[in-house]
């Protein structure tokens, strides 16, 4: 299995190409459906943080889900069963790194599936896919 990994966040220039790439998986423009986010750490001159699911082997979001909608994924992270999800937001609060994004249009979580599409659009070597497990 592969997981998305942040190789060197200091190389990030804040272009957010990854954020837009993620939304394009659904064929949309904008960022409402993106599972990855880039923000400055208190002023752009200090650099950026890239927030995305890091594929925990024992994911707290899945442990917290009251309906069993989040199932641990082989190799780390989770798979969301949107039919079971009631949009309670417990998973979002359970993730200490803030990597459970929220889709306000459907009121359901957005969590990285580690497909690697964003990596193709990172021009400065911040992101990479790595083999796990």
């Amino acid at each position: 299995m592969r997981r998305l990994s942040i190789v060197d966040v200091e190389r990030c220039v804040g272009c957010m190409s990854c954020v837009f790439a993620c939304a394009r998986r659904f064929g949309e423009g904008g960022v409402a459906k993106s599972a990855i986010w880039v923000g400055s750490i208190g002023g752009v001159e200090r650099g950026f943080r890239v927030v995305v699911c890091r594929a925990c082997s024992d994911p707290p979001c899945a442990a917290a889900c009251p309906t069993g909608a989040l199932k641990p994924r082989e190799g780390g992270g989770v798979v969301v069963d949107y039919n079971r999800c009631i949009g309670c937001g417990t998973c979002r609060n359970a993730c200490p790194i803030g990597a459970v994004m929220w889709d306000n249009e459907t009121n359901k979580p957005i969590i990285c599936v580690h497909c690697g599409y964003c990596v193709e659009f990172c021009p400065h070597g911040v992101l990479a896919m790595e083999e796990v497990g």
Binding site: V13, G14, C15, M16, S17, F20, A23, R24, G27, E28, G29, G30, V31, A32, K33, G43, V44, E45, G47, E105, F121, P123, H124
Partner: protein, 589 residues
């Protein structure tokens, strides 16, 4: 256009009545696409004839376009307003996160009118607009502090832009800038003063929406194609590696780098101001505007000791680009890179346009040398080429205006020279201070007739550099420049950064627009570019612009260019050709 695209929504904000509303302006976006094409029409609607640029009747329009937030390098916002600096059409573009924030907040344009009685900042979060009390921020020394405070006070996950003014805008210096995301600017023509006159300290916009496209598959394919072209293009690499300061050595070698108020075109310390030197010794971080893989923004990390305590340092990040290096470096004879960086930082703190400030100070230095002004006029500041400490003080005085002379400098070099003499070496074109290109005859012609008085209108500086050693007829120059300016109207209606113009060729633009539901042909785009250009000229003429009374500063005819000495006759001939053509097209023969 795609009927589901929120681009057609225009947000109107009335500062006098503290009201806001949204109008569906599909009419304008269908006809003029977006960006500057739509902005000009909105300004024409809002601006009463001969309105005072610093009165409540002036309007500010910010606009983005169909490609904003959908394609890479479509990262610029266009601002149009009536300029307090020239008294005519003002247009300025900036990147940062502004374009993406406006687009993802669900708007194609934002119109700001009226004036507040007390200082306010306005926050636009999606569909909500808030008027916040900015009295505690008014008069603050540094625009950076203002940005930090607002950043902490305003909620809003997602893309957020914080456009703010410094003291210069509050004090209505006619070339005050609006700063966005600390290192980008609506620099030219005084948008900062218009903000100040409306008591608008800042405009915050945040958005995190989505934009539907018509053909998802084609959209992804077109995106990938453009993205690959961008990251593989050599020009883009240059902008990323050294950024715009790569031009310093190029122009110096050509003898086109205005130095010491254009007495010279080569600067003995150019190597110390070069992109290469700055990158090697000071480059601390490179940044991108939102949705631009290029990352051309270069920040110097300037480490300075405090004199009162050993081992006590501060490190300041200072954005540098070719234009401020020219205007605050070579133009003022400042060859110490740290001195030039400090001047850039000061100009940003108070919120002035770097280019106009440098040219104004260069003129003031020469005027003082020639005895046109006294030490008293200068409030005791001994202006001298290369003395950046003196220039730091003078920048503060342009803002605070302790003497009549500084009050005159605060209105630009054209005005100051009309009061104190020295017009021959007052380097303004159409009332706006010159940019850093003494490349040949096409550049000054383009500064004179470019529809927003910017070197970026027509790219005259670029044509000059490409044609060294060749002699183009005045007719050829005019035709090439007009063609270029008209295409640039399309780029600034999409809105695409001009740095990516080599990638966004007409056929690529057609391909990018198609999945979004636009059926433009290359010919349609060319016609639209012409129409937008003429719309601008129509508005300019309405507001009193005339091609008959344009002043050519004598200095540019004295100092040789890489094309030799420019003859005034050459420029006048080009002006005649241009005038005949534009007036015929406007139906005013």
């Amino acid at each position: 256009m795609n009927p589901k695209d929120p681009l057609r929504r225009v947000l109107y904000i009335d500062l006098s009545r503290k009201k806001y509303w949204v109008e569906d302006r599909r009419d304008l976006f269908e006809e003029y696409m977006g960006g500057v094409g739509v902005a000009i029409k909105l300004l024409e609607e809002e601006l009463p004839r001969n309105a005072d640029p610093l009165g409540p009747d002036n309007a500010i329009v910010f606009a983005v376009g169909p490609l904003s937030a959908l394609y890479p390098t479509a990262s610029k916002t266009v601002a149009v307003f009536k300029s307090p600096h020239t008294g005519n059409l003002g247009e300025s573009h900036a990147g940062g996160r502004s374009a993406i924030a406006i687009r993802l907040a669900g708007y194609g344009a934002i119109v700001i009118k009226g004036a507040s009685e007390i200082p306010v900042w306005v926050a636009v979060h999606g569909n909500r607009v808030y008027f916040r009390d900015a009295r505690a921020l008014w008069g603050m020394t540094s625009s950076h502090t203002v940005g930090r405070i607002i950043r902490e006070r305003e909620p809003g996950r997602g893309f957020r832009t914080i456009m703010r003014i410094g003291r210069a805008g509050e004090k209505l210096v006619t070339y005050a800038s609006v700063i966005t995301e600390t290192y980008r600017h609506f620099g030219r023509l005084g948008l900062g003063a218009v903000f100040g006159s409306k008591k608008l300290k800042a405009l915050v916009v945040s958005g995190r929406g989505s934009i539907p496209v018509v053909d998802r598959k084609a959209y992804r394919e077109a995106y990938k194609k453009i993205y690959d072209l961008l990251v593989e293009s050599p020009l883009m690499k240059k902008y990323h590696d050294l950024g715009t300061p790569m031009n310093v050595l190029v122009l110096n070698k050509l003898g086109a780098l205005p130095t010491m108020n254009l007495a010279k075109t080569r600067f003995e310390h150019a190597d110390k101001l070069s992109g290469e030197y700055l990158a090697e010794h000071y480059l601390g971080r490179r940044l991108a505007c939102a949705h631009c893989p290029v990352a051309c923004i270069h920040l110097a990390a300037l480490r300075e000791p405090y004199v009162d305590e050993p081992y006590f340092f501060k490190t300041t990040f200072i954005g540098y680009d070719y234009e401020p290096i020219y205007s605050l470096g070579s133009m003022l004879g400042v060859g110490d890179p740290e001195g030039a960086l400090r001047l850039m930082d000061r100009v940003d703190k108070v919120g002035l346009d770097a280019m106009s400030t440098g040219v104004v100070l260069a003129w003031a230095t020469e005027a003082y040398e020639k005895g046109l002004v006294s030490s008293d006029d200068l409030a005791g500041v001994e202006l001298k080429w290369g003395d950046y400490e003196a220039y730091m003080k003078a920048i503060d005085y342009i803002v605070e205006q302790p003497t009549e002379f500084y009050a005159a400098l605060a209105r630009g070099v054209e005005y100051a020279a009309s009061k104190y003499g020295g017009k021959d070496f007052a380097l303004a074109f159409g009332g706006n201070e010159m940019p850093g290109y003494h490349t040949g005859p096409a550049a000054p012609f383009s500064f004179l007739v470019g529809s927003r008085h910017s070197h970026l209108d027509m790219g005259g500086y670029s044509l000059d550099q490409k044609t060294i050693g060749k002699s183009l007829s005045p007719e050829e120059i005019v035709n090439k420049l007009v063609k270029e300016e008209r295409w640039r109207q399309i780029l600034s209606s999409l809105v695409v950064c001009f740095f990516a113009r080599g990638v966004y060729k007409p056929d690529i633009v057609v391909e990018a627009l198609r999945p979004l539901g636009y059926e433009y042909t290359v010919e349609d785009l060319e016609n639209l570019g012409k129409e937008i250009h003429l719309n601008k000229y129509r508005l300019k003429v309405r507001e009193g612009f005339s091609l008959d009374d344009l002043r050519v500063p004598r200095r540019i005819l004295e100092t040789p260019t890489p094309h030799g000495v420019i003859r005034e006759e050459t420029i006048r001939t080009m002006l005649d050709i241009f005038k005949k053509r534009i007036m015929a097209e406007l139906g005013r023969v």
